[in-house]
């Protein structure tokens, strides 16, 4: 059962990840990423972290990617142009090679390290949301508050940078 779930969600994540990277339309890329993230959320659930799974869906797909979609639609981003001028084969090939080398090396290392080792069964204690909460709000309170501050700053910066009719904006002179 777990294996089936892993295969389904893992494959979904992989395929949609490839679509994210390969599709020329940003909208389709974003939507594929939604699939990847939801699949990953399912994997989180399987890994005994319903908290992360819910958070992944709530925050990533429900907020961040909606923001992406919003911006894409706002800017009306078109498909990437193709053609010789836009291509840079060196960049592409070196990126591919580097990524494959990296993936290969990491996979080799991980396999050597863990092999076919199977996880111990989940414990109630590990899954319990209460424990996660106490960890987050007690041991990690300071980072938590700092992240909150970071988000506040990000909101202020974002609204400043993207404001309409700024002094340096072309919009105003038109």
């Amino acid at each position: 059962m777990e294996l089936l779930a892993f295969v389904v969600f893992g494959l979904a994540a992989l395929v949609s990840a490839i679509v994210v990277v390969a599709h020329r339309s940003p909208i389709h890329s974003t939507l594929s990423l939604v699939v990847t993230l939801v699949s990953t959320a399912a994997l989180f659930l399987m890994l005994g972290s319903p908290f992360l799974a819910a958070l992944q869906v709530l925050l990533y797909t429900g907020a961040i990617l909606v923001l992406f979609l919003f911006v894409i639609m706002l800017l009306n981003v078109q498909r990437e142009r193709t053609g010789a001028a836009a291509r840079s084969p060196f960049q592409t090939w070196s990126a591919l090679i580097a990524a494959f080398v990296l993936a290969g090396a990491v996979c080799r290392l991980l396999w050597d390290a863990h092999g076919e080792a199977v996880l111990a069964p989940l414990t109630e204690d590990f899954v319990a949301l209460r424990n996660t909460a106490s960890l987050l709000f007690r041991d990690y309170l300071l980072p938590f508050e700092m992240v909150g501050l970071l988000l506040l700053v990000a909101v202020v910066v974002a609204s400043w940078v993207a404001r309409r009719g700024g002094a340096d904006s072309e919009e105003e002179s038109r």
Binding site: S88, Q91, S94, A95, A98, A99, V101, L102, A105, L109
Partner: protein, 652 residues
């Protein structure tokens, strides 16, 4: 009030005045400038006179030393200390009194000049530096003052910086002085290396205790004393305008006349003499250098005197006269008559300052004209200037009982007593020439009829009181200054007790070394005979001058001279072409060398190396900048490659 404890205030006060005038007072506040400019040296003079009086009447004959601050670098420690002993007392007296009178005179002479505040600031600065020089207790403090007066000399020669010549003259003075200063520095450092101290007192004591140290061979076949004294004398050559470094002094007349009087006649140029006398113990241990000093002095004396004969610029005449008289002083120092040197220095300060100030009064009356060919008959218009100028001339010519007679006579007696007969002969000849050219200037300036334009004649007037009063006071000095040093012989012949005050006062300063023969004593008859000879020569010079230039004769004699002996006349009028010679032999080769250095070393080698470096850098940058494509994906790829490298490094 104990003036002695306030010793360091004597140089400090003029410095203070210079700072206040230079930094705080504004240009328009002329009254304040005058007040500060006079009060500072005036207070300094009063303090100095009180201190000298207290010192001279004090019981202790020991030199007074006052350290203000100790300058320590590593293990070397040098005090900023002041020293009052008979020698510096005499010098302080001359500097403060003559200096203050010239300050007063300047108020009138410079009254309408633009840079009045600047002038007084520099003049005060000079006073401070000069007092530092004479009161300094060691070579370093002296050197600071030495350089300070050089700076002020430069600043004041170039006072009229908007004209073409004065700044050039200032530069020339400065550069020529640098040559001497360098030698001074070398000598000073040699002393320090040998004795580990720069204090005058300590050095003298050590040398007296162990003269063989100073006599030991040092470098270039010279003993330590020989080397040091040679170096110091080269320094003195620069500052005191001796052959071959005298060329700057006549040009220095480009400065305002009171400056010429104060710096380039009365005080600063005598610093070299003072320094030689200050280190007399070393000179006594280096007889060959002493002889060299005497020779240079004698040569300078007669050389400058002959040039003086053919000059038409009244200040140039006085300038060469100064060079000549400084030669006299070195002659005296060279033959061992140190007291005579200082004596002549003091008397000369009075009458030469008087001469310059008198000429300044004349120039003032003539509206800036300095050429004697355009003067004549001025005595009617300048009733005060004329007699004072005449008194000074009599004094410098050596007519008794004026100041110059006694000092000059003592020098000649010293030379004769030391068996330097040739030098004595040169000296006596110079004395005649001095009388001759000085009276020439008197006759051309004050006698005969006016040769200038009508405008100038109409403009003629006596100077204001602020200028004439110092003249009178200085004239008083020119008459009486010699009386403090009436020779012992005269007193004895007249049946009095010895009242040669100066000699007694200064004798502690003159070292007496075992085995060095200083006690040349002439018999009274010889001494008297020598006096008569010198008086006769002086009178002879005067008479010749009267015959040639007296009355209404004017410039006739000069013209005749130029017709009869055109070569000699041109030679003298052009100062033996020394400037041209230096230009050809030293200045141009140096300039060429400098140009060569510039073109080859600087432009080609140094700049070239830089350009090569810059080119390589630029080339590297040109190649490297292609990596900054501005395309973020390239950067990401670099980053990724770096991560891979790190990964590889971490694993293997």
């Amino acid at each position: 009030m104990d003036a002695l404890s306030l010793l360091w205030w004597i140089p400090a006060l003029p410095f203070l005045g210079a700072a206040v005038n230079g930094l705080l007072v504004r240009n328009g506040q002329k009254g304040l400038v005058t007040f500060v400019g006079l009060a500072a040296p005036g207070a300094s003079m009063l303090l100095g006179l009180t201190a000298i009086w207290q010192y001279a009447t004090g019981l202790a004959p020991e030199p007074l030393r006052q350290a203000v601050y100790s300058w320590t670098v590593g293990e070397m420690s040098i005090d900023v200390a002041f020293r009052l002993d008979p020698l510096s007392a005499v010098m302080t007296f001359v500097v403060t009194v003559v200096g203050f009178l010239i300050h007063v005179y300047s108020v009138g002479y410079m009254g309408r000049e633009e840079g009045y505040r600047r002038y007084f600031s520099f003049l005060n600065l000079f006073m401070g530096a000069m007092l530092l020089l004479v009161l300094g207790s060691n070579f370093l403090v002296m050197f600071v003052g030495w350089e300070g007066v050089g700076l002020c000399s430069y600043l004041l020669i170039g006072y009229y910086f908007d004209q073409e010549f004065p700044p050039e003259a200032g530069k020339k003075a400065f550069v020529v002085n640098r040559i001497g200063d360098f030698a001074f520095l070398v000598g000073m450092l040699a002393l320090f290396a040998s004795f580990g101290t720069l204090e005058f007192g300590e050095i003298t004591e050590r040398v007296l205790a162990a003269p063989e140290i100073a006599k030991a061979p040092y470098v270039f076949g010279l003993s330590l004393a020989g080397f040091v004294t040679l170096c110091l004398f080269i320094g003195a050559m620069g500052k005191s305008a001796q052959i071959p470094l005298y060329v700057w002094l006549p040009d220095a007349m480009a400065g305002p006349t009171p400056v010429s009087a104060l710096i380039h006649a009365a005080t600063m140029v005598t610093a070299g003499v003072y320094m030689v006398v200050r280190t007399n113990v070393l000179y006594q241990l280096a007889p060959e250098i002493s002889l060299f000093v005497a020779g240079i002095g004698a040569a300078t004396a007669i050389f400058a005197a002959t040039i003086g004969l053919a000059q038409n610029d009244i200040k140039k005449v006085l300038a060469y006269s100064t060079v000549s008289q400084l030669g006299y002083m070195f002659l005296a120092a060279g033959v061992g008559a140190y007291v005579a040197a200082i004596f002549h220095l003091a008397t000369h300060a009075f009458f030469k300052a008087l001469l310059f100030l008198g000429s300044g009064s004349v120039i003032h009356a003539m509206g800036g004209e300095q050429d004697m060919q355009k003067m004549g008959g001025l005595r009617k218009h300048l009733p005060l200037t004329y007699p004072t100028y005449l008194i000074a001339t009599l004094a410098i010519a050596g007519i008794p009982p004026l100041a110059g007679f006694f000092s000059k006579d003592e020098i000649l007696a010293g030379a004769f007593a030391g068996h330097h007969h040739l030098i004595w002969g040169v000296g006596i000849l110079t004395a005649g020439l001095t009388a001759c050219y000085m009276f020439r200037s008197v006759y051309l300036t004050f006698h005969g009829s006016f040769r200038g334009s009508h405008e100038q004649e109409h403009h003629l007037h006596e100077s204001p009181k602020v200028m004439t009063v110092p003249l009178v006071l200085l004239a008083l000095g020119a008459v009486t200054a010699g009386w403090i040093g009436i020779p012992t012989g005269l007193w004895e012949m007249a049946g009095f007790a010895d009242h040669n005050v100066l000699h007694h006062f200064l004798s502690p300063v003159i070292a007496t070394l075992p085995g060095v023969d200083t006690g040349h004593h002439l018999s009274h008859s010889t001494e008297l005979l020598l006096m008569l000879v010198s008086v006769a020569v002086a009178l002879g010079g005067w008479l010749v001058a009267k015959r040639l230039w007296g009355g209404e004769r004017g410039l006739a004699a000069d013209r005749t001279f130029a017709e009869r002996l055109p070569f000699v006349q041109r030679l003298l009028a052009n100062k033996y072409y020394v400037d041209e010679l230096y230009d050809r032999v030293i200045v141009r080769p140096l300039a060429g060398l400098a140009r060569g250095c510039w073109k080859i070393v600087d432009t080609l080698l140094i700049d070239g190396a830089l350009h090569v470096g810059a080119f390589v850098t630029e080339l590297t940058g040109d190649l490297g900048r292609f990596s900054t494509t501005g395309n973020i994906r390239n950067y990401a790829l670099y980053f990724f490659a770096g991560v891979l490298l790190l990964f590889w490094w971490m694993i293997f």
